[in-house]
């Protein structure tokens, strides 16, 4: 199977996965207690107003009718209308998605950039102060809760030094602290993985052969070592995308970025079903596409991989 066929097959596979996601999210949301109309109108409302609003929002119909009507609309790329915000979900998604994507994509790139550099350094200078300090930092990076790191960075760079804004969005300066906060934990993972993977590769015979041929160490490490060491790191990429979206929820709340994560949390608390469904579908699609990208890259880096 060619890589093109593989990509097409993966894209087609997205459909049943997404249907599964909608069933799960729809089921969970409707099974747990919590009534959006009650939350919207408050406790003090009259029964008549409650019934009227329920009818207006179509929530009085049987669950399966609501589900299939939702599914039908999704096939036409109509995500419905937010129960609480009274706005088309597609419009809300279009407004928030760029904020979340810019955050997560930058976070991904930065975490890989930092992680690979520190991982290679630690592996090449194994058991030296560079190795110990890189790995020490990596352990701190993995252990520190993101919201706390975010507050520390705000305190230092925004409140004390006034170099960057505390919170908000719209300019590159607003993106710096959230991206750094989001990427440090991920960078730590990548660094640890790079180090161990590279150390394993450099012990292989072909690397020894490359050295024996008299190749310069830099070429040995980057051309022969790192390229092969990257395979598990690329596998990590698929997992990292989901992890970054999870982290983005916290980051968006701390740094006041109106993104999908924050909207999802608010929607869950208010039982705003169409918004929860819409955001979940978008996130699921992105994570699936990310994983597919990781698989394709896997083949690019390692031509031995057959699909």
């Amino acid at each position: 199977m060619s890589i093109i066929q593989y990509i097409i097959r993966r894209i087609l596979l997205i459909i049943p996965v997404l249907v599964g996601v909608t069933v799960l999210v729809f089921g969970i949301l409707h099974l747990v207690p919590g009534d959006p109309v009650r939350l919207m109108l408050g406790e003090m409302t009259t029964e008549e107003a409650y019934v009227r609003t329920r009818e207006r929002l179509g929530l009085d119909r049987p669950l399966y009718v609501q589900y299939f009507s939702f599914l039908g609309r999704i096939c036409r790329f109509d995500f419905g209308r937010s129960l609480i915000l009274r706005e088309d979900v597609a419009k809300l998604l279009a407004a928030k998605l760029p904020n979340t994507l810019s955050l997560t994509a930058s976070g991904l790139i930065l975490s890989y950039a930092i992680g690979i550099v520190f991982g290679v350094l630690a592996a090449v200078r194994r058991n030296t102060i560079i190795d110990y300090s890189s790995m020490g930092l990596a352990i701190i990076g993995v252990s520190v809760p993101q919201f706390w790191l975010g507050f520390l960075l705000i305190m230092l760079f925004a409140v004390k030094l006034h170099w960057l804004p505390i919170a908000g969005y719209g300019t590159f300066r607003h993106l710096v602290l959230p991206v750094v906060t989001l990427s440090l934990g991920g960078a730590a993972d990548v660094a640890r993985m790079t180090r161990s993977s590279l150390l394993e590769v450099v012990r292989q015979d072909y690397v020894q052969t490359a050295r024996a041929k008299g190749l310069r160490e830099r070429k040995v490490i980057f051309k022969h070592g790192l390229r092969n060491a990257l395979i598990p790191i690329i596998t990590l990429l698929g997992l990292k995308i989901g992890w970054l979206f999870g982290g983005a929820v916290i980051i968006e709340i701390v740094f006041l970025r109106p993104g999908l994560g924050r909207m999802l949390i608010d929607a869950i608390y208010m039982r705003d079903f169409p918004v929860v469904q819409g955001v979940t579908l978008i996130l699921a699609t992105t994570v699936i596409l990310g994983n597919m990208l990781a698989d394709v890259l896997y083949a690019v880096v390692n031509p031995r991989v057959q699909y």
């Binding site: 207690p33 003090m44 409302t45 009274r86 507050f151 709340i253």
Partner: protein, 528 residues
């Protein structure tokens, strides 16, 4: 010669004093032009987006609603009813007819007049289709007698009408023309009232922007400024995170924080650029009990629970002093206040439990009755303070030999759980500044909806509530509520624990800060 010199000295000193006093006067009260020049943009941090700015379809229109819309009647700092859009009002001796005389020249932001027709439309639309229809449920008819006079004909006397009319979040007067024009989009893309600020935009999850209404000249008489507000633009910024809010106000990026978490009060108090304002509240945190389910179906057991709470210690140690011990069911600012019999007395609690038949027969540190151990589930939402209080109560119960398990629910699920009737004991908070809250929570008609969470069902109470709400005067209404409050305390369906304090913060460069229980008034506010 000598006298001339004395006169010269006197003239000099008097002149000097005049200059100083005029300087001081200027420093104390700058004129409107100076205030407006200094006050360009005001940023206010709020916890969450408004649900909707359409108060007809939503019961909570957000903090900015009071700036966009006026109410017919206002309530001043002493909670006295004062003028709003209505200049004055009269009520007939039988309490069935109310006449409201409107201020002349009041217009909506869309240019339409806020006349008697508009007021009658607001009242009738809310009564017939509104989310808070109960506000005007006693109104039979609203008639525009002339452009500046509205007559309300009531089905029964309802002295609480003025309170309902002054509720900023519920009873805002909106433009009927705008309501019709925008349809479904009203409250999201437009909100049109007569208030000192006009709606500009609402970016969901981020901010609501308002701009000054330059034509405003009908502010309540109890405010210093009745004309246009001083700040040109007001931005309500949604900041859900408590620490982010603190850092924003410390850095001067936010001017006012509506709700300050008790956890960050001391940090803000230490900052000279920030002023923390602690004021009494209208909220009560309590533990409720299901009076239809054992073991709380026995009034002696419920009374025992009222004695196990060391409220002073809770306020001091759990809340860091930010709160007040609560002994009865109404906030301290709400009448009628009743002296509660329940103090912290574990011996008394033990005595009452023993009287109800609960004793530790097998020495296993759990009390039993008819061979059944005293085990309860205490429900709570996930708000940190409430979980902490639940844990304290759990420990106190353990001292009496009661095994309590805590079960937490997210806020959306929590409200719905009460409809099941499975609750035994539960932590809860309400915020209201009127005695009718007792009717709300203990009237048997609201059991099925999960509002009457203790599932109290006493025909006598229902009768008394009905009586109280239809008394011809406020005084008579209060006297019935006094009896009701006393009776409820004796029946002990709730264990009142504490009144949270209202904590707000503002930049110290602001002056003219005035706030009532539910709103920070922007009319007098300016930057120094």
């Amino acid at each position: 010669m000598q006298s001339k010199r004395i006169v010269a000295y006197v003239v000099f000193f008097v002149g000097l004093m005049l200059v100083f006093s005029s300087l001081i006067t200027v420093a104390q009260a700058p004129d409107r032009a100076t205030k407006e020049a200094n006050s360009t943009t005001l940023v206010i941090a709020i916890d969450q987006d408004p649900q909707n700015l359409n108060t007809i379809t939503t019961s909570w229109g957000g903090e900015m609603n009071r700036d966009i819309c006026d109410t017919l009647v206002s309530r001043d700092y002493q909670l006295t009813y004062q003028d709003g859009i209505a200049e004055s009002w009269d009520v007939s001796s039988d309490g069935l007819e109310w006449i409201f005389r409107l201020k002349d020249g009041v217009t909506f932001h869309d240019g339409t007049p806020c006349d008697a027709e508009a007021i009658a439309w607001n009242i009738e639309t809310m009564r017939d289709t509104g989310a808070s229809a109960y506000l005007y449920s006693a109104v039979e008819d609203a008639v525009a007698v002339d452009p500046l006079t509205v007559k309300l004909i009531l089905k029964n006397p309802f002295p609480n009408l003025l309170y309902n009319m002054s509720s900023s979040g519920f009873a805002s007067i909106i433009s009927p023309t705008a309501f019709e024009k925008y349809g479904e989009d009203y409250g999201v893309k437009a909100a049109v009232g007569t208030g000192p600020y006009m709606f500009v935009e609402w970016v969901k999850g981020d901010h609501v922007t308002l701009k000054r209404n330059p034509d405003y000249s009908w502010g309540p008489s109890w405010m210093e400024n009745q004309g246009p507000a001083y700040f040109e633009t007001v931005i309500y910024k949604v900041v859900p995170e408590a620490v982010t809010k603190a850092m924003l106000i410390q850095a001067g990026e936010v001017d006012v924080v509506y709700y300050v978490s008790p956890a960050i009060v001391s940090t803000l108090q230490a900052d000279s650029n920030v002023e923390v304002i602690l004021s009494p509240e209208r909220r009560l945190v309590y533990m409720g009990m299901n009076v239809t389910k054992a073991p709380f179906d026995d009034v002696r057991v419920r009374q025992a629970m009222c004695y196990i709470v060391d409220r002073e210690a809770i306020v001091e140690n759990v809340l860091g002093g930010i709160g007040m011990p609560a002994y009865n069911y109404l906030a301290p600012i709400v009448e009628p206040q009743i002296e509660s019999p329940y103090t912290y007395d574990m011996d008394k609690a033990r005595e009452l439990l023993a009287e109800a038949g609960w004793t530790d027969e097998d020495d296993d540190d759990i009390i039993e009755k008819d061979g059944k151990e005293f085990r309860v589930t205490l429900w709570t939402d996930t708000i940190t303070e409430r979980v902490q209080i639940a844990t304290v109560l759990q420990n106190q119960m353990a001292e009496l030999g009661i095994k309590a398990a805590i079960q937490q629910f997210d806020s959306a699920a929590y409200g719905d759980m009460f409809k099941t009737g499975n609750q035994q004991a539960f932590m809860r908070l309400y915020g209201w500044d009127n005695a009718d809250i007792l009717e709300w929570f203990f009237n048997s008609t609201r059991i099925d909806r999960g509002v009457n969470k203790t599932r109290t069902n006493e025909p006598l109470l229902d009768f008394m509530f009905k009586k109280a709400e239809s008394m011809p005067t406020s005084e008579e209404r209060l006297s019935v509520y006094r009896l009701l409050h006393e009776y409820l305390l004796e029946r002990a369906p709730w264990v009142p624990v504490y009144y949270p304090q209202q904590v707000r913060a503002r930049g110290s460069d602001l002056a003219g800060y005035n706030a009532t229980l539910d709103h920070i008034w922007l009319l007098d506010l300016y930057r120094k």
